[in-house]
């Protein structure tokens, strides 16, 4: 089968020609790579470009330029430039540090060593010196330095195995096979004498396609396909060595071609913030215009300006406007962006540091690959999850079986123990967790009536498969392309039926110590159509026998009437399926020699068929697979990752809707949905499996009608749809109906999806529902949806890196999602939004004061504060509180957030951060600034506040106001802070002290240091002035008393769940005690509201709804590989010893 291309090399445009052993004629790019963003020279221009493409930074640059115009700036030339530079330097340092790491990593890769053939000898050279056309030798376990065409290998038939998990995330090994024409070239001499050329396509990013032609001298051209190509980034496995000729290097390798930049994602909060900056900008314009009008009015009042002002020139309206824009420009917080950048960076570090998300199994910590989306984690409404490797470990365990109508392995106490053990080290199989039912062996040994069946059953498990055993000392490990088969063989081994050796035509097993050899006559391969696989063997007794295992549906229809235990087994199958186990029925039939011979003739004919060979083979298989005698059924557990059901329950409580999108089969998906409690037994399942647009439309409409009024509400329904149907369902006409239907169901399972469809469905939900979506997956097929969703989470630590590399957050286990969302997400949302609102608040407070002052200074644009004090406001005096808010704020403890997932809704709904909230905050700030200006202004109305009777000046008032602003703003941060730790105290009290200290020092610099002459003596005078201190206590209190009163009244009258939880925490009620009556009441009430929708009482009038018990059949097997399963198993002789083999991908 495979998909080796026919000789068509000639009609494909071949853009690249590689000459063998002629290095000078191959001039392509180097193999060294660089993933760094900047180089030494490009740093400055590129960095500046990136920074000034941010609107806010561009705005401040514009202000800086305006300030250079003489006469315009009320605050001097450099007062915006300096803070802007400080901010640019800070984020510049961050960029340099990050880029330095990338440079180092590149260097490490580029200097790795590999062996190439140069001057007729093997030489060790670093990766970066590998050129196109080089012949490279790689040994087992090595990563390949470039894309190359396989020439030969150490293995039989010139095959080799590669782990492609870095590229596509698939954990099974891929087989590559060299062309038979080159398979014999193994020595230096042979290789050096190789001459000819390879023509192939231009570099591209398709992993699974390659078109090339090999022109060897004096030989006809041979086509090269993907089966001959070894890609950079893959790792050689189970193969002693390979030789390959390099075709693509460096950035032209498929690996690097795939390393496109992930799309830049912006969080919802960021978008709202940009919106708010715009609002503030409008406010700035309005204020400037009002001030300009005020200036005109003021000038009009005097007809001529008063004589003492001197100059009689009138400024134009435009000039005044610029003056006021500069005066008020800091309404837009200059430090906001850099503050957020640092805050989010630290939040990301907290995620990386979290021990609760540290998977000790392979020492993997959670990793925030971007810090842009930290707060988005707190707003997730739709969760799209991959199945394999995300919900499951992708490890199959033989759990239960039913033999001759008796169920074994149903030991609840055992499985409980197992679960406990599991929580410690998930995904690592402990013996206690595997099939362990002594009854089976007892029955076997004590000559139970079913003894023969048990023996036959276990023999079947040992014989009927395509697993290859590997013997290392006394240990036997199994290598299988189907994890189900590996699980069954391992299960049989535990029960004393050990599959020991495979030879091309036979298998040897040890049945309870007795060595038996079965001659394998035919392998009737598995395909998803057939849903079964059979094997025809000659037993040691010489009997011809066909063993078959497959789906209950296909086996049952082929049972002979004589078959026993049919009813009992069916009941057991249903039980297995309800628990979410993957079931297979096993059966056998004894064949007579004549029967077999007749069939063999048919088989040979079919296998030679030119047309529809697969179809005729399957027909042929079918003809002998009949009149089965049922032996029983197996139940395999597709092991869920630790705490998956609990996590899902918790996320559901948090009002997150979970959709499972999988490329896997429908049966498997349903099994998993049952075992992770997404589906429950009595939940009606709407299954959409159609083939045409019309049918899809019709069935969707029908279901919508059946739902009637319940449409659009959350119902206790499951929707199951496959890829083919989904293609139609996402058609423009049907899309809306389909989404309505899907959103009315509690659970949605989409099966058999292509990676593109996964991305598409995420995109549709994202656009139609306008909710925040999160996609989680581990494989290459999840990359699309991970990139499409608002937040992409990759499961890391397994071998696949592609999902991780494209994700925004990487975690080792699905269950860590709970902490990531409910704790980090919620906290980060609170932190970021509070930080942003606070930054807006503090700037509005300070700069609206200039407007109040403008009213009394004739709208001249005079500033009331010293110019550098203004500039340092955001950089020093009020820079710390936003950080503590952004880094340390906690609405309540982690335990509470995890215990009450309902708390997640506060951040999910986004009620605490929107334009309305911003306006409230702004109005609050305006009120505060009003108080902050007019109270001191009235206090100093008569200029005589000093004990020595001295009079004061405008800056004296300015310093009063500034001090009160700093105090008020810092205390306001304290008021917003829900959790004060030592840093909060430091930031709040520290900021006030820093200002007072600075004030004292700064007032005595002139003329020693030529700055701030107008500040001279201000500190000495103000700090001893009784009014200053009397105001120091009253002004902030006047501002904040309203906030405190409002807050406490609201908290008292309208107590939120959050408040309740916080009160519980601080009143010392042990959060860990579950049986507190009050809490359980809270929990109950909320539980009822959030999780359990009404039981669905819809009467469905269509046949797409499945109310019956689920079927558990599921089986995974690679189909359409380069070599068929039969060929593969027949190529092994495991009785011969093979040195230097390491099997990292065996199912041990």
């Amino acid at each position: 089968m495979g998909w080796r291309q026919s000789l068509q090399g000639a009609d494909v445009p071949m853009a690249r020609t590689i000459y063998l052993n002629e290095p000078l004629r191959n001039t392509f790019c180097k193999n060294s790579i660089s993933t760094a963003k900047y180089s030494m020279w490009s740093f400055l221009p590129r960095y500046l470009y990136l920074q000034f493409s941010k609107t806010a930074n561009a705005f401040f640059l514009f202000i800086t330029i305006l300030q250079q115009i003489p006469e315009v700036s009320p605050t001097g030339k450099y007062t915006t430039l300096v803070p802007l530079l400080v901010i640019l330097v800070i984020s510049g340092v961050k960029e340099i540090v990050e880029d330095y790491k990338r440079h180092m990593a590149d260097k490490l890769v580029n200097s790795k060593n590999t062996i190439v053939l140069r001057q007729n000898a093997w030489q060790v050279i670093p990766w970066k010196e590998v050129n196109v056309g080089d012949i490279v030798k790689a040994t087992n376990g090595q990563f390949l330095p470039a894309d190359m065409v396989l020439i030969s290998s150490s293995e039989p038939q010139a095959t080799c195995f590669v782990a492609t998990s870095n590229l596509d995330g698939e954990t099974n090994l891929k087989i590559r096979q060299a062309l038979s024409e080159t398979a014999t070239m193994k020595t230096e001499k042979q290789l050096s004498s190789l001459s000819g050329k390879i023509k192939c396509e231009e570099p591209n990013f398709h992993f699974n396609s390659f078109m090339g032609t090999l022109y060897l001298k004096e030989k006809s051209p041979i086509s090269i396909g993907p089966d001959q190509v070894l890609l950079r980034g893959t790792q050689l496995k189970n193969t002693e060595w390979i030789l390959g000729v390099v075709v693509y290097t460096g950035f032209e390798t498929k690996f690097m071609q795939n390393a496109v930049k992930s799309p830049l994602k912006r969080s919802k909060v960021e978008k709202v913030t940009n919106m708010q900056i715009l609002v503030l900008f409008l406010l700035l314009l309005v204020m400037s215009l009002v001030s300009c009008v005020g200036a005109i009015y003021w000038k009009d009042r005097y007809r001529a300006e008063p004589w003492y002002l001197g100059k009689k020139d009138y400024h134009s309206f435009g000039f005044d406007l610029l003056v006021f824009i500069i005066l008020y420009h800091n309404l837009i917080p200059i430090s906001l962006l850099v503050t957020l950048e640092i805050v989010k960076y630290i939040q990301a570090l907290f995620i990386n540091w979290d021990e609760d998300m540290h998977f000790k199994g392979n020492n993997v910590y959670a990793m925030a690959r971007t810090s842009n989306l930290n707060e988005e984690l707190g707003q997730v409404e739709y969760l799209f999850s991959d199945k394999t490797g995300t919900l499951t470990c992708n490890i199959m365990t033989f759990k239960k079986c039913s033999i001759a109508g008796i169920m074994y392995g149903d030991l609840p106490s055992k499985s409980d123990d197992g679960a406990k053990d599991l929580s410690q080290s998930p995904c690592f199989i402990s013996d206690a967790y595997e099939f362990n039912d002594p009854a089976l062996l007892q029955n076997f040994k004590n000559d139970h009536p079913t003894k023969e069946y048990i023996k036959e059953f276990l023999t079947l498990l040992c014989v009927c498969h395509t697993v290859v055993p590997e013997r290392e000392g006394n240990n036997i490990s199994y290598q299988a392309s189907s994890p189900d088969e590996a699980a069954l063989v391992k299960g049989a081994k535990k029960l004393g039926f050990v599959f020991t050796a495979r030879m091309p035509n036979s298998v040897t097993i040890e049945a309870m110590g007795e060595e038996l050899t079965f001659e394998i006559l035919n392998v009737l391969e598995f395909s998803s159509n057939r849903k079964r696989m059979s094997i025809i063997v000659r037993t040691p007794e010489g009997q011809l026998r066909l063993y078959c295992k497959g789906a209950d549906s296909v086996i049952y229809e082929r049972l002979s009437e004589k078959s026993l235990f049919v009813e009992e087994t069916l009941v057991h199958l249903e039980n297995f399926a309800r628990e979410g186990l993957r079931t297979l029925c096993v059966a056998y039939i004894d064949l007579t020699e004549i029967e077999y011979k007749q069939w063999l003739v048919m088989y040979k004919k079919a296998s030679r068929a030119v047309r529809d060979r697969i179809q005729s083979l399957e027909d042929c298989y079918d003809s002998i697979e009949k009149k089965f005698l049922l032996l029983g059924a197996t139940a395999i557990e597709d092991r869920l990752q630790a705490r998956v059901p609990e996590t899902i329950t918790s996320l559901l409580k948090a009002n997150i809707k979970i959709w499972v999108l999988t490329g896997d089969k429908q049966e498997t998906a349903i099994n998993i949905a049952y075992s992770c409690k997404l589906l429950s037994g009595q939940m009606p399942r709407i299954q959409l499996n159609t083939n045409s647009l019309e049918a899809t439309q019709q069935v969707i409409n029908q279901n919508c009608q059946d739902l009637g009024a319940l449409l659009g509400k959350e119902n206790d329904l499951a929707l199951i749809i496959d890829g083919k149907t989904l293609k139609h369902a996402l058609h423009v006409e049907v899309r809306k109906c389909f989404l309505n239907l899907a959103l009315s169901c509690r659970t949605v399972l989409c099966c058999r999806l292509s990676p593109l469809q996964k991305a598409e469905i995420v995109d549709v939900v994202k656009k139609q529902v306008k909710a925040i979506t999160l996609a989680i997956g581990d494989g290459a097929n999840d990359v699309g949806m991970i990139q499409t969703a608002h937040v992409g989470v990759g499961i890391s630590g397994n071998e696949g890196m592609l999902a991780t590399n494209n994700s925004d957050y990487a975690i080792a286990q699905f269950s860590y999602l709970e902490k990531l969302l409910l704790v980090h997400g919620a906290w980060n949302y609170f932190r970021v939004t509070k930080c942003i609102l606070y930054c807006f608040y503090k700037n509005v407070v300070l700069y609206i004061i200039e407007l109040w002052f403008a009213i009394v200074n004739g709208f001249s644009g005079q500033i009331i504060f010293e110019r550098w004090c203004i500039s340092l406001y955001n950089v020093i005096f009020t820079s710390l509180p936003p950080f503590t808010l952004g880094i340390f704020e906690r609405c309540c403890s982690q335990e509470s957030l995890l215990r009450y997932p309902q708390l997640y809704r506060i951040s999910q709904t986004g009620d605490i951060f929107n334009i309305k909230v911003l306006w409230i905050q702004c109005i609050n700030a305006v009120v505060h600034s009003f108080i902050l200006f007019w109270l001191p202004a009235k206090m100093l109305e008569h200029d005589v506040v000093l004990q020595s009777g001295y009079t004061t000046d405008y800056l004296f008032l300015g310093n009063f106001v500034y001090t009160y602003v700093v105090v008020t703003v810092c205390l306001k941060a304290g008021l917003e802070t829900m959790s004060w730790n030592k840093f909060t105290h430091l930031a709040i009290w520290g900021s006030i002290m820093i200002w007072l200290g600075f004030f004292a020092v700064y007032s005595s610099l002139w003329p020693t240091i030529p700055v701030a002459p107008e500040m001279t003596g201000q500190g000495n005078m103000a700090l001893v002035c009784p009014h200053f201190w009397l105001g120091f206590f009253i002004v902030p209190i006047v501002c904040l008393i309203q906030n405190v009163a409002w807050k406490s009244i609201r908290n008292t009258c309208h107590r939120t769940l959050l408040e309740e939880v916080r009160e519980m925490e601080s009143s010392g009620v042990q959060v860990l005690r579950r049986d507190s009556s009050q809490r359980s009441k809270v929990e109950e009430v909320n539980l009822q509201r959030s999780v359990s929708p009404r039981p669905c009482q819809v009467v469905f009038r269509n046949n797409s709804v499945d109310l019956g018990a689920p079927h558990g059949y599921a089986f995974s097997q690679v189909e359409r590989a380069v070599i068929s399963q039969e060929e593969l198993v027949r190529s092994y002789d495991t009785t011969k010893s093979k040195p230097q083999r390491t099997f990292s991908a065996t199912f041990e």
Binding site: G310, D356, Y365, G858, T951, T1016, S1048
Partner: protein, 361 residues
Amino acid sequence: MAMNYNAKDEVDGGPPCPPGGTAKTRRPDNTAFKQQRLPAWQPILTAGTVLPTFFIIGLIFIPIGIGIFVTSNNIREIEIDYTGTDPSSPCYKCLSPNVTPCICTINFTLDQSFEGNVFMYYGLSNFYQNHRRYVKSRDDGQLNGDPSALLNPSKECEPYRRNEDKPIAPCGAIANSMFNDTLELFQVGNASDLMPITLKKKGIAWWTDKNVKFRNPPGTDPLEERFKGTTKPVNWVKPVYMLDSDEDNNGFINEDFIVWMRTAALPTFRKLYRLIERKNDLHPTLPAGRYYLNITYNYPVHSFDGRKRMILSTISWMGGKNPFLGIAYITIGSISFLLGVVLLVINHKYRNSSNTADITI
């Protein structure tokens, strides 16, 4: 952000090590900081928890307010407007610019005697000393005695930077518009005889201004020499080195000048003009009775609807008379107390009902 390629993936044995770094460098210490378990105080803001604060604020602020208010009320202050806009005013004649010099006399009566040091201020209204072009029109370098700035004043002083090709000292609009009325005070004795009251010129400016910020050009020569090459401000009658006969109160360190140079915050402002020191403990500084205020009226304010006042005031520990702060304290204290009561009611109401209240999300 980052490219989706991680070079370390390719390092041998890469997959088992966590992405983005080796296991060695990424092992965090399990500190409370890193695990976000720092001990923290969670303030609970409910009516019950904050109401004591409100009462305390009320209880503290009201007495303080009363204290401040009483202190302010005990300060003696008298304000005399001598602008002369009213035709009945003795200074009405001075509004016309033709009368030079114009001297007018206003008599007033002190009902109560002023004790302790008495401070004499002049006050101007509707005078925008805080106007941007006014505020910046000075050269602090020049005022600090910097010789180069003396002869080459800052551009900010325009158009009062140079006059007739000579640099103006002191330059700028502030100096140019210096207040130049002369005020004299006479006590009307028992026999209608006028007893002049000693007005002290020195000690009216901030110490730092007098000694740090303002300095005459360096040198030991007479002041006139040191100011050589400069010219007087356009509006001034005398050059800066002739402001006073006292060497220590002349030139840039003339205290009247220094006081004027501190530009006021509001368009209505006062400037300290003279000190009347108390004589001894037995006699009040200014006993109750009749007084004459003698004004040499130079300063034009009529053109911009300004007003001129003379203020006599005593000083307490908290400065001059201003009841505002006291009232503010009393008001805030009362409001706080009232809010406390409101909260008490709310707390009472909701504490009883909270047990049965439905928990809302």
